[in-house]
Symmetry: C2
């Protein structure tokens, strides 16, 4: 590689306008009145989204293969196709009231990288692959990050196939219906490195006025269902001293979920997002309250410490009040530290391009978490407006969209070789 | 009245077995698998219940009139029919998962009083009337205590007629459909005194091992809808310090509802029965929480003090957290002290009959609350198992059922004159 080409590559920039236009065009499929997108996984709209993205890939000269769980792999050959591909990707399914950028940005940024390389006739040593992973969101079918999870053998294809939505439809049936069951065995091909660009989905970058988050890892996640059982009784005739009010006891534990996060700084997170009160009647003392607990932290040891903390608090609360409390873990995602090589590649690219940047920890799970089990992996974060995602008002600035994709381009080129 | 007759009347007792059998027969209409009753107001089952009760009344020689809101008045003439009747009654509609005794007991106890007088050929000076009031429960149509409320002119007939259920059906339409719109103008006839027997719906009598509660009054009730507004955000990427978690703020106010009741002893009651979290998703910080507040106390001044207390606490909480909190009153029922003459008549009857008894305050609203606005009124409570009502497992002992009806008989006879 001579100095002339090296200099040209340093100056290489993606076409931000084209990327933005593609994002807006994809966002038409399932567009909601409030400016968001509702394109649930394996629906007709998801099929339309997949068709559009694979058409764009083919138009950019890429080959497309689909695996048995419907993950799509769009490949641009390299000079040496015996090398494992440098992969990027994300998902194009959305939340029911989702935004235009979550996931979609990561996939279209990958295609824009390829389009840019094509524009400038740049060949890479290793092939480039852009993946879209099936059902990252998990809102229609659990578990979340299904396609990448099967690919990384975190759970089996059969387990994923059998998942049902609220109408009893299965993943297998819906994949067949939309024509996205491929031949490829999930996880059958090696990966050289994996990068994923994503909106931050949190307020930290915006709070620090930075363009790029160099993601060093992803918090471990523990999900629990908690049940407090009291005795339902009439709100009028039952004196305060004779009550077994499940909600009152539950409120103390709900507060402890947050207190527990504060006891585990700086990355501890504690959230009660879902509450169900029984019988949920104005003049009946609640007899039972069920609620979710979401605990996160930067290492599995810290997650485990939070787990023990919350269980101890619940046991004491139950002993003090005489009301049974159960805490059942429903899922767990280990903390994931990204590979230093990929983290550094992202940091170097951001610095080279002159973007303000900071190290960041991803509080949300991403397909990159599973990919990190198979290959060196890293992520590029850009700010989103007010840190809001999973919301129709989710928004991101065109200059940030462009910046993140430029960082992806240069990090991938460093790994792929030119 | 000679001494012989006086003695006979003191010895008069109702037929407990017959009353129990009638209760069990009425409970067949809308019987649930768990031993309860689901006989919502103005349904076909309610019509069947009304038909059975009015048939029994006619078989006992009573005349039956229905008023425009479907209240039924079953009358046994006295010697002097220009005197206003001594009335008893309650309701035969139930909660969706209701019991066999709530309301039904008060109506059938009235019929049993008449049957007993018939058995012994006893004439009263004033007429005796047994009422069943439409829609006491309020579970299908609000407001609660609808029939007695219209009768007492607490609100208009038109207001009650216009109430709709969740399917959009109106009270007027449903009354017409089941054939229970009568000619009588609600509230058009005077009442000499009103008594109501009812299960306590609370644990106090059982706790004190007493057979009869001599009800001195009914707590005032204030119902509110409370809304805490935060900002929904992803549970993972949002650091604890940057959250506006509506649920966490709400839990503090929920606890204050109970603390407020404790600050207003001995009759203060505070309950949060209904909670709705938005968007109610496991990994989303709640953006909005709505919940009900039910405050009760023995005087309107104490209810007002609780109202002010809760509003002050909410205002401080809102100022401390920066999250808006609204508290909207949705209904209010003033506290009602029963007339000394009726309270004493109940106390005297219980003492004369040798039943263990204690003064009691009703924590729940009853039709007697509205009747107390029109005439001297009083209530007779009997224990119910574990204080449970509004539940299919609601239960009461036959000896208590009998005792309460005997107290009703003697209290009514004292007022009606023999
Ligand atoms: N990115 C994302 O929303 N993942 C879903 C799993 C999580 O709650 O972190
Ligand atoms: N008795 C009864 O359940 N009344 C309903 C109104 C209340 O909550 O007190």
């Amino acid at each position: 590689m001579d100095t002339k080409v090296k200099t040209d590559i340093d100056k290489l920039r993606i076409n931000g306008e084209r990327l933005w236009d593609s994002l807006m065009e994809l966002a038409q499929i399932g567009a909601t009145p409030k400016g968001g997108v509702c394109r649930l996984t394996l629906t007709d709209l998801d099929k339309q989204g997949r068709d559009l993205v694979t058409r764009w890939a083919r138009e950019a000269g890429m080959s497309v293969t689909i695996d048995q769980i419907g993950n799509g792999f769009m490949r641009r050959p390299g000079r040496n196709n015996s090398l494992p591909p440098i992969m990027t990707g994300s998902h194009i399914d959305t939340q029911p009231t989702g935004g235009k950028f979550d996931g979609n940005y990561g996939v279209l940024a990958g295609i824009e990288v390829v389009r840019t390389l094509n524009d400038h006739g740049i060949e890479t040593e290793a092939p480039i692959e852009v993946a879209f992973w099936t059902n990252e969101e998990g809102s229609r079918f659990v578990p979340v990050m299904m396609g990448s999870g099967v690919f990384a053998k975190a759970f089996t294809l059969e387990h994923a196939y059998a998942a049902t939505d609220t109408e009893g439809k299965t993943v297998k049936g819906e994949l067949e219906r939309i024509g996205y069951v491929g031949d490829q065995v999930p996880g059958d091909h090696p990966i050289g490195a994996y990068f994923e660009t994503h909106i931050e989905q949190g307020p930290v970058l915006e709070d620090h006025d930075k363009t790029i988050g160099v993601v060093t890892g992803v918090l471990g996640i523990r999900w629990y269902d908690c049940t407090v059982t009291g005795m339902e009784a009439h709100a009028g005739p039952t004196p305060m001293a004779l009550r077994k009010d499940a909600l009152q006891v539950a409120t103390h534990l709900m507060q402890e979920v947050v207190a527990c996060a504060h006891r585990h700084p700086p990355h501890g997170r504690g959230t009660v997002g879902m509450v169900q009160v029984h019988p949920n009647s104005r003049n009946v003392i609640p007899g039972q309250v069920k609620f979710s607990i979401d605990l996160r932290n930067a290492t599995d040891a810290l997650c485990e410490s939070m787990d023990q903390d919350i269980r101890a608090v619940a046991a004491k609360l139950s002993a003090d009040t005489g009301l049974p409390i159960t805490i059942e873990q429903v899922s767990a995602y280990p903390a994931q530290v990204f590979h230093a090589d990929c983290v550094d590649a992202v940091a170097r690219a951001a610095a080279k391009l002159g973007y303000s940047n900071m190290p960041a920890v991803s509080g949300a799970g991403h397909d990159a978490v599973y990919m990190a089990r198979l290959a060196p992996a890293g992520m590029v974060f850009i700010p989103c407006k007010d840190g809001i995602s999973h919301n129709e008002i989710e928004d991101a600035k065109p200059e940030h969209i462009t910046a993140g994709c430029n960082v992806l381009l240069h990090a991938m080129l460093e790994r792929a070789g030119t």
